[in-house]
Amino acid sequence: MNSRNKERNSEREAMARSRRAFLTMSAAAVTGYGCWAWLRSRSQEGGVEWPLRAILRGNERVSEAYFSNGHLSPTFGQSQVNADPRRNGDVGLGEGFEPEQWVLSVRGYDNAFTHQVTMAQIRELPRIEQITQLNCIEGWTVIVQWVGARFADFTASYAPQFRNAKYVSMKTPDRAYFVGLDSASVFHTQTLLCYEMNGADLTGARGAPLRLVIPVKYGIKNIKRIGEIAYTNERPQDYWANEGYDWYAGL
């Protein structure tokens, strides 16, 4: 075989390989785009395509497996506290609320009302002070000094029959804002029913008279002006999870 034939052969081989490779790549690109189109056209579950929701749930399981009461959100010194931390979210904080008449309603598994707890009873619980970060899901963060009672202590004292509940639901008195919480996070040592912030009683806009401080979750779970706490074994509704956000929202 002379050189010219060899050259022609290598050119033919090049053409064949090139054609094959570009066809394969086009097919892969079309397949990839098809997967994307399929993904984005799925029916929505809580404001997001169901496969995305399924992966959020999967991520939640991974997070839960790693979660530990010993994994603490970082704490800070008094000098690092933001004196007037950024505020966000006023759903459920409407007019016509009388803090003096406020009592906390506690509900059990079947959502049946069990009893009421007063602010005085909550203040009787061991007083915990902590300086932690509040991480907004938007991406900003503030360092705040909080004072309150551990939710675990609250449950042990005022709702011990529900200490094995899988979930806890909290709602504002008008039920406009509501959060769903997994038991591991809500019974975490740093989770507080909080009544003081940066050395003063909570103001209305900050969630008076009682709000949740749960540093192992994004700010959206730190519900202000709690009116009702329900212990349940079914995954409770969550305001922002209905709007496309992760239900777990754990940090």
Partner: protein, 226 residues
């Protein structure tokens, strides 16, 4: 005469073309998230030279008001991104391909020569091999940046459960800042990479699809002078 020379193994080509859409999706969904708190800028003191990002950017790319969607996409594609990246690194390690990608002791000097040559400040082309010094440094940096993105991403994703990691990176805001600038790094790499691929020409581009390069055989040319 010309002959075929094998240039990129099949696996490398797959990794390359899978990385491209995955990286694009991670950057784009990341921007949907970043929009909700777009605090970074280039500036000095009170003077802002460039704000990331101006309104025309968000409008043009339809980025505003899509935080929830961005997070869901980011935490979906992160798995594919990591899976592809880890497999790629393992492949490099076990196939020996890393020898062609990691910089060696000549790479830094070669990279300077490449830059001078590309800027038309130097006439002689620097030595090439499969990758020249600048390419070795750039491609290795991209791998390192991807690892950095995963690590800083984890610190932002779970700053309480992985508080040790966030602390190691200088805290949550710092980790978020690093994560952002790594993204800018990827986009800058992409721009330069595409420009260089266009400059290098068709044979080079085809080699990342079909695997081979057509090379002039010097000896054969000698045998049959024109």
């Amino acid at each position: 005469m010309t002959r075929l020379e094998e240039k990129h193994p099949l696996a490398i080509r797959w990794f390359h073309w899978i990385s491209f859409p995955l990286l694009f999706l991670m950057v784009w969904s990341g921007l949907l998230v970043y929009w909700a708190n777009d605090m970074y800028r280039v500036g000095l003191g009170e003077t802002t030279l460039f704000h990331f990002f101006p309104d025309w950017f968000y409008r043009g790319l339809n980025i505003a008001q899509r935080l929830a969607e961005g997070m869901a996409l980011h935490f979906f594609f992160m798995w594919l991104f990591v899976l592809n990246g880890v497999t790629y690194v393992l492949y490099l390690a076990f196939s020996g391909e890393w020898r062609k990608v990691l910089p060696d002791r000549h790479s830094l000097r070669d990279a300077v020569l490449v830059a001078l040559y590309d800027l038309h400040l130097r006439k002689e082309a620097p030595r090439q091999g499969l990758y020249n010094g600048a390419q070795r440094i750039a491609y290795t940096s991209v791998i390192a940046m991807a690892m950095g993105s995963v690590v800083t991403g984890l610190a932002i994703y779970k700053p309480a459960q992985l508080s040790w990691l966030a602390r190691l990176l200088g805290g949550y805001p710092m980790a978020r800042w690093d994560h952002f600038w790594l993204m800018i790094g990827f986009v800058s790499f992409f721009v330069v990479h595409v420009a260089q691929v266009i400059r290098a020409g068709w044979d080079n581009f085809r080699s990342m699809v079909a695997g081979y390069s057509l090379v002039e055989d010097a000896e054969a040319r000698h045998e049959f002078p024109k």
